[in-house]
Structure formats: C-alpha cells, structure tokens
C-alpha cells in the first residue's frame, strides 16, 4: 500500500508498504530517518517515541497505515519544531509554516558545529545525559513535549512524564539535570 503523511513538516509518500509494517519501520527503513530507535519494538522502552499529531507515541506500536494523513515529528525534526514553537507561540505550528521545515541533509561530522539544536537537545549534551545515546531520541521527544505543556515541571512531574522511556546507562540523574536545565534556560529566555 501507499502511505501519505507529513514528517517533520515535509509531505512524505511511502510506497510498497506491507500492511504489517509499523510507523517505526517506515520511518527507519523507507524514509531514511533512523533517529527513532528500535530497542524493544513492543512499546516498553520508549526509544521510538515520536509525536503523532502532537501526541507522544511509541512508533513501534503504530501501524504505518494509521499515520495516513497525519503529522509526525521525529528527533530529526526537533530542532525545527522548537524553533517554530519559539516563533509561533505555544499553540502549535501553523500547517503552512510546518510544511517549510526540512530534515537536515547529510551528516555533520564536525561535532555538530553549525547545527541549530532544540534547547532540550543542547541541555542533554551539556548535562552529560547522553552516554550510549540509544534512548536519547525518544527521551528528547518526550522531554520536549513535557516542557511544551509544563514549562516548570517538578522533579516528580519529570519522572512521571519520562517513565515510559528506559535508559540503561545513566541512572537517569543526568537526564533529570538536563530537563531541569532546559526548563531553567527556557524560563530565563536563554
């Protein structure tokens, strides 16, 4: 089958999709967006978290066909998404504006110099919240969504919001630091 949907603001068309394929598989294997990760493929680890019409979901549990006509934001689009949000207020992004987003082409091997990161992405780097990094894309999408609806979360709020995202490396302390840091920078307008 063919699936038409919007990914990171760009209309996408995936052909020859088998009905059993997940949204995660189509993103990773058909659209060249492997940022969303495949740690458990059973909805337990959150490493494949994307936003589907704004709502964080495990893309491994969404059948590709269910994304038909809908908007998906992945970790690859997080920088643009945050930039649009800071320009366009908190009510989401107008569709026309969103359609102007584009995923970055190629890989910046110069340690990301010149790449514009979302505040939550920068905070994860600065706080040391990234080790192996496999859980990071899902945690970033979930954390960004938390800060969008709750700019000043308590520690308990952060833990609740991220409880669907497993991390095996960090013991979560530096992930807590990163979300607190992003929230603080956001409230200071940095």
């Amino acid at each position: 089958m063919r699936v038409n949907f919007t990914v990171n603001g760009r209309p996408q068309e995936a052909d020859d999709v088998w009905e059993g394929e997940s949204l995660l598989y189509v993103l990773r294997e058909r659209l060249g967006l492997p940022g969303s990760k495949n740690a458990c493929e059973q909805g337990e680890c959150g490493s494949c978290t994307v936003r589907l019409d704004g709502v964080p979901v495990c893309s491994c549990l969404v059948a590709a066909g269910q994304a038909e006509g809908r908007d998906v934001v992945t970790v690859e689009g997080l920088g643009d998404h945050a930039r649009q949000r800071s320009c366009g207020g908190s009510d989401g992004v107008p569709l026309d504006a969103a359609k102007g987003w584009a995923a970055k082409a190629g890989t910046d091997s110069q340690a990301g110099e010149g790449v514009e990161l979302a505040p939550i992405q920068q905070a994860f780097i600065d706080a040391g919240a990234v080790q192996c990094g496999f859980c990071t894309p899902g945690l970033l999408v979930a954390s960004d969504e938390l800060l969008e609806r709750n700019p000043n979360p308590s520690d308990a709020d952060i833990r609740e919001a991220l409880s669907g995202n497993l991390c095996r490396c960090t013991g979560y302390e530096k992930i807590m630091d990163a979300v607190r840091l992003a929230a603080a920078r956001q409230s200071e307008g940095v």
């Binding site: 940022g35 969303s36 740690a39 970790v75 890989t107 340690a111 040391g128 192996c132 609740e160 490396c169």
Partner: protein, 794 residues
C-alpha cells in the same frame, strides 16, 4: 556503492578547550541528540538482504532432522543455511574455550540456540521463512543446577572435552574451579567468639543494553567481507570469525558501528558470523537486527549463583576467618566462565583484612542459558553475599555495621587472599565514612503540610498507600573490584596518533580500535591528546581493525589501558615533533637543546613558559605519526591448588548507602536515595565519572528489587524474554544518587587514574538489600527481592 551509516571521523573543534581533568563534552554528543549518529541497527545498503536466525525451542535435545525445503521455496528468500553448509572445518567459536557451535550440530544445549539462518529481501519474509524450517527434536533430560550436573549418572553437557581446564576439575560438567587457601581457617575458627553462616542466591541478570545486537556484512570484491558491527572488542571478534569463514584475517575488515550500550553482553559473538556467512553465500550485503525477544537469547547473562559463607569474629570485632563456596551457573557454553570464577574466588572476601581463608569458586555447565560477562564480573555475586554476612556478624556482636566494616577494612599494604599486596590507596574506611556523613533525605514526607504525593511512595501512581504500613530502612555496603584483565593475560592496547597541519591549524588524530559503547572513551582520548600535544583540534578516527588491538571495553579497563596507549603514543609523537623543531629551528635559540620542552596552546614552549615556535611552523609540510602498543604491569596466573598469585592489575572501591521505604503490607519497595562514594584515582572527566557511577549504581538497584531472567527448573526454558516481563529500573524506580568522588592517585596508572565503571555496580545491590532488611527485619538471602518475599507469600 558504500553503506549508509558508515562511521566518519569526528573532529572536536577549536571552540572546545579542555584537557584531562575537565568535564569536556562528548565529541559524538551532537550526532546522538539529532538522531544522526549511526548505530549498527541503522546501517543500510542498496540491495541489502535481511538475515534471520532460527533458534531451538527446547533446551536440551538431539536434532533428528532439519527440513529447509519450504523455507527455501518462499519468494524473496535468497539463502537458508544449517551446520552442513558451514564452509570450513572450523565450526565452533568461543572467547577462551571454542565450545560454541556456529549452528547447532546434532544437538542443542540450551533454549534459543541457533539452528539455521535465512536471508531474504524483507525482514518479515526472513522471519516467516525461518518459521517454515522444520526441526525434529528428541528431548534429553536437562541439567539445571549443581545437583543434577554432578549426579553420578548426569548427562554430560559437553562430551569429549579437551580444553585446558578439564585436567583440574572433578567432573566434566564443571567448567573451571579455583580454590584459594591462605593461613589456616580451621585453626582461626577456634579463636572466633561468634561464627555466622549463610546461604545466598543470586538471580540471573541481563545486561539489557538498549541497542539490539545488529550489524551489516558487505561482501567485498577480493572475496572477503566488511562487517559493520556493535561489539566490545573488534579484534577478539575477528580472531573468532575469520577461521569459520575460511578467510585470512586481512580479508575480514571490521568497523565499529554505533554501539547502544554493552555492559559485558557484547563480549561474546552474537550475529557476526551468521551475517558474514549469509553475505558470502548470497554475494549481497546482509543486515541482521535482533528484536528484544531474540536479544534475550542472543547474548550471555550474568551468572546466577549459590553462595555459602562462614565468617568468624572475635568479641572485639575482628574477623578471624572466612570460608566460602561460590557455585556459578555457566549455562550451556563456557563464554567467560573461567575468568568469572577467578574473579569470584579472588574477590570473595571483599575489601577486608582476613588472614585465614578457605575459598572455592566454580562454574557449572548446565542446560540453562549461557552466562558470561556482565559489569562486575563475578565480584557482584560475591559482594552481595559477603556484605550480607558482614551485617549479620555485626548484629551478632552488637556492633554498628559501618564501624564493624571500618574496623576490618583493608588499606594500602593489605595482603589479599591470593597473597597479592594491595600497593595503591585502598580508602575503604574513608569511603564508608563519607557515604555515612551525607545528609539523609527527610522522613515521613507524606505527613508534611502538602500531603502525600503518591508518586514518591511505594506503589507510586498505583495509589496503594498514602503512608500506611510504610517503614524506612537504611543499609550500607562496600565492595572491591579488579581493573583490567587478570591472571597473566597479555592485556595490551594500541594507539595510532598523527599530528599535522590542516587548514592552518595543528590537528591531532587519534586512531584506536577501542569500542566506544557509551562510556565516553572518545571524549577522554581527545582530552589526553589536547593535554599531551597542546592542540585544540582533535579528530577521533572511527574504530576498526586497520589499527592494532585495543583490547576489550570491559573490566573497567579502557581509560587505563587504551587511555594509557593514547598517552604513550602522544608522548612519542611529541618527541618526534620536538626533534623536527630542533632540526628546523634549533640554531635560533639555545633552549631547544637545553630546556625541558612542552607543547602548549599550539606552540613549543620551555618549562619556563618561553615560546620557541609555533606548531604550525614546526609541522609545516610534515606529518608525524606513531602507532605503538602499550602494556600495564604484568599479572600472574593463580595457582590451581592454592589460588596464590599476583593476579590483578589494580583494585577499585566504592561504598553505598541505601535509603528505602517499604510498604510492608504489600511488599512494595521504594528506594528513596542511593548515595555513593568512590575513589577514582584521578577523574579524567568528572562529568563522565559521575555518570558512570550513577549508571552502575542503578544496574545494582535493578538486580536488588526487580531484574531476573526466570528459567523454568523443569524445562530450562526462559520464561520472561521481554521488557514486559523482565523489568529494568525506570526513572520512577530510580532515586536520587548523590556521588562523592575521592581522588587518591595510583602511582602505577596513567595520570594516577583508577578504572571506575564496575565498582558502583557491586555495593549498590547489598546496600539496598540491607536497607530492606532493616525496614522489614527479614533475613532475605536472595536477590532480587520480590513482593512475595516481603509478605511471606512466596
């Protein structure tokens, strides 16, 4: 055309300052937060096929027949291979003992053993094809524990053993046994005023790294293959892969792909040989990615163990002797079992002074899942038991458990049970003092004016209590771990460092085969190069087999050993650069010949700070490159009868204090805080050091209260191979983890550093157990503790 996701050089730019001792940021951090960092499961190649492995559905059986016809007939299937299709006489592999069949031959020895492999054009097609392979099994009785393994009529898990351990074990179902005898435990026991005995059970823990086993094998024009892979040790994989393929090692090129965590679970091969076999058979690139279910079968686990201890002490609180017997379940194949036995025995007493010991550790062959390396490696199981014993003895003596430990704590100069003196700082008593001195979290918060936040109570959002039945407990533990490969192993690493001018700036390139698995080795390599070579720009070359072996990313060893190799190579490069400078500019300033010269801030300077030349000018038109192996002090094998020998390179120490709250009615545990104090020798990157300690602590918490692979004792089948049924700590299960870092230099190690990755995994578990015992008054002689153990309904 090249594969997508091939690792590229990462340059950390001139905006990044920072040598050793600074919390510089990861060079791969931006790639990892943007989703552009390519893990092994992200690799993609035009025209690639997907590989799938068919695994045994029973634990122990003869294979009567395998019928692949239906699978081969499925459209989209390119190859189906079984044992009979293996290309050479070498059909087994293994880290130390080559006892693991690439594909099962005549027999399967554990649930989930690879029997056949399939390549197809879609992963689902490959899965369906594998399901169409018909395997007929004739089941055999299963060996599941010491009793069944050593019974007089026990079936041998491996017949005809000819490995180098068979000569000193009492039964062929014992992989390896290491006794340690020092002093006279029987005589010392007579001096004891109290004697405490205990039997303990340690459950099977999974590494549960999040990035599944995966890789891409690309056939090459010269008949060889290029494997992009997530592993802990490229050259160890290579040594095992090449003979099975019938290729010389130079025709098996290996490049490290992004690794999503390891924790020991990638020391053994998983899908490496299978992907290469299918690629060479089909002439097409083949990608294999395990899903989580398969991952639980696709790597070894931490050895479950039975531990039998006897401790004696005098009335004034001095330990008289320790007797112990540690029985590790190695499962169906040897993996790292012999080395785990060496660790478990040599570290079985813990960080205490005990002159009279009688110790025995052994690993069994059974039909349970194979067990091998996991963070802590034999020392974890022992620490759980000896720390429980220390609490029991203290209680028997009426002493404070921390004071009792401090009274018996080892220090620099203490002689280990193996006869090896500890010849660098061993601040065991001080770590306990520090962790005890940290402020305690406030009590009974649910009685505060804001009322109960159920999220901070046992049971959490299940809303099972608002404080009723909740009791607090506090527990302490301390542990000792060796650093580096032990027992005479030639534990070297190799580094290639190049210095040249690029775009008008001096740049150092560091090339090693070190597996970056998340620990931050690449960050540290760049820091070392900056410190030693005085450059701002450092390029980290992807790890591959085009450079010498770096050894394994295991045993807390990479910062020490590959860090040491990078430091050494940088020093040799610096000498050559200075030689170049002397040749070019020596006649302009006498200090070139007379002063101690350094490289700093892109310049050659004297130790007095006088600038002699710009590195750009010295290196103009030239590149300096050195590749060199580096070794730490050699170690010795343990004597097979007495266990004596200077077997370890370095020791590492951490202490924990756990604060828990237990809903005693429902048996639910909430760990409130898990504080750690650790000596790290020298923190090369303080941010990463704390991250390692917190991560290790959390894995110890997991095996204290939730993590266990359940194996059916009747069938030896794994019952919970999923993240639905095998639980690892979430952010809600994990408390705050305050960390106190002590830096007492080890003069034998580069920069005085101490390997740090594993020690915090040891003491975390027994500290949590001690806290739960404190809250409940229960004995709790097994880990993990589940609710039924606390409510008496087990």
């Amino acid at each position: 055309m090249p594969a997508n996701g091939v690792p590229t050089k990462i340059t950390q730019g001139s905006g990044t300052k920072g040598g050793i001792g600074e919390s510089t940021l990861r060079p791969d951090g931006t790639l990892k937060v943007t989703g552009e960092f390519a893990y092994s499961s992200d690799m993609w190649h035009e025209d690639m096929l997907w590989g799938q492995i068919l695994r045994s559905t029973v634990a122990h059986a003869e294979i009567v027949s395998i019928d692949t016809a239906e699978a081969l007939a499925l459209p989209g299937v390119y190859a189906v291979m079984t044992y009979d299709d293996l290309p050479t006489e070498v059909k087994h592999y293994g880290l130390e003992i080559q006892d693991t069949p690439v594909l099962a031959h005549g027999k399967v020895r554990h649930h989930g053993e690879p029997v056949a492999i399939v390549a197809a054009d879609h992963p689902e097609t490959a899965r369906r094809a594998a399901a169409k392979i018909k395997v007929e099994y004739r089941e055999l009785p299963v060996i599941t524990d010491e009793r069944s393994a050593l019974a007089p009529d026990a079936v041998l898990v491996h017949e005809g053993r000819d490995d180098h351990h068979i000569g000193h074990v009492a039964h062929p179902n014992i992989v390896h046994r290491q006794p340690i005898v020092r002093g006279d435990a029987a005589v010392a026991a007579a001096r004891a005023d109290v004697i405490v005995k205990g039997e303990y059970t340690f459950g099977m823990q999974d590494q549960a790294f999040l990035g599944p086993e995966s890789g891409l094998a690309v056939p090459e024009e010269d008949g060889g293959v290029h494997l992009y892979i997530a592993t802990q040790w490229l050259h160890s994989d290579l040594r095992q892969i090449a003979p099975v393929l019938g290729l010389p090692e130079r025709k098996v090129r290996m490049t490290l792909s992004g690794v999503g965590g390891a924790f020991g679970g990638r020391e053994d091969l998983s899908m490496q040989i299978h992907a290469c076999l299918l690629a060479l058979r089909t002439g097409k690139p083949v990608k294999i990615v395990y899903n989580r279910f398969e991952s639980f079968f696709g790597h070894v686990h931490r050895h479950p163990a039975k531990l039998y201890y006897e401790h004696g002490a005098t009335r004034d609180g001095k330990l008289t002797h320790v007797k112990c017997r540690i029985v590790l379940d190695g499962g169906a194949y040897a993996s790292a079992s012999p080395a785990v036995v060496g660790n478990a025995s040599s570290l079985s007493v813990g960080p205490y002074v005990v002159d009279d010991v009688d110790i025995e550790a052994l690993a069994l062959y059974t039909n349970n899942p194979p067990c091998g390396a996991m963070r802590g490696f034999g020392a974890v199981q022992a620490c759980f038991a000896y720390e429980a014993q220390m609490d029991k003895v203290a209680k028997e003596l009426g002493m404070d458990p921390v004071e009792f430990r401090q009274l018996n704590a080892m220090e620099q100069g203490t002689v280990m049970p193996t006869g090896q003196p500890v010849d660098s700082p061993a601040p065991v008593a001080e770590l306990l003092r520090r962790v005890k001195a940290m402020p305690l979290p406030p009590e009974r918060q649910w009685e505060s004016s804001e009322g109960a936040d159920v999220r901070q109570l046992p049971g959490g959002l299940s809303n099972t209590t608002h404080g009723e039945g909740v009791v607090r407990g506090i527990g302490y533990a301390v542990g000792i771990k060796n650093v580096g490969f032990s027992e005479g192993f030639d534990d070297y690493s190799t580094a290639r460092v190049r210095m040249e001018v690029i775009a008008g700036e001096p740049v150092a390139t560091v090339h090693t085969a070190m597996a970056e698995v998340g620990q931050g080795g690449v960050t540290v390599h760049a820091q070392i190069a900056r410190s030693e070579l005085g450059v701002a720009q450092v390029t980290i070359h992807p790890a591959d087999t085009q450079v010498g072996s770096a050894g394994s990313t295991s045993a807390s060893r990479q910062t020490y050993v590959t860090g040491g190799a990078v430091k050494n190579a940088c020093e040799l490069v610096r000498e050559r650069v200075l030689e170049l400078g002397r040749r070019k500019f020596g006649s302009y300033h006498p200090a070139w010949a007379t002063a101690e010269l350094l490289l700093e801030g892109g310049k050659v300077v004297t130790d007095g700070g006088e600038v002699l030349a710009d590195l750009v000018d010295v290196l103009e038109g030239e590149a300096v490159e050195v590749e060199e192996e580096w070794r730490h002090r050699p170690t010795e094998a343990f004597d097979l009868r007495t266990g004596q020998g200077n077997g370890h390179v370095q020791y590492s120490f951490a202490a924990h204090r756990a604060v828990v709250e237990v809903d005693t009615e429902l048996g639910l545990v909430k760990v409130i805080e898990l504080a750690c104090a650790q000596d790290v020798g020298k923190a090369l990157n303080p941010l990463s050091v704390v991250g390692q300690i917190q991560g290790g602590t959390t894995q110890g918490l997991g095996v204290a209260v939730m993590e266990e692979i359940i194996v059916d004792p009747k069938t030896a089948k794994v019952r919970n191979p999923s993240f639905t049924d095998y639980l690892i700590p979430t952010i809600l299960d994990t408390p705050t983890i305050p960390v106190d870092v002590l830096e007492l230099a080890d003069e034998h190690a580069p920069y005085g550093l101490r390997g740090i990755g594993e020690a915090p995994t040891l003491s975390s578990t027994p500290a949590v157990l001690a806290a739960i015992r404190g809250a409940t008054g229960l004995e709790l002689d097994r880990t993990p503790v589940r609710p039924e153990h606390l409510t008496g309904t087990a």
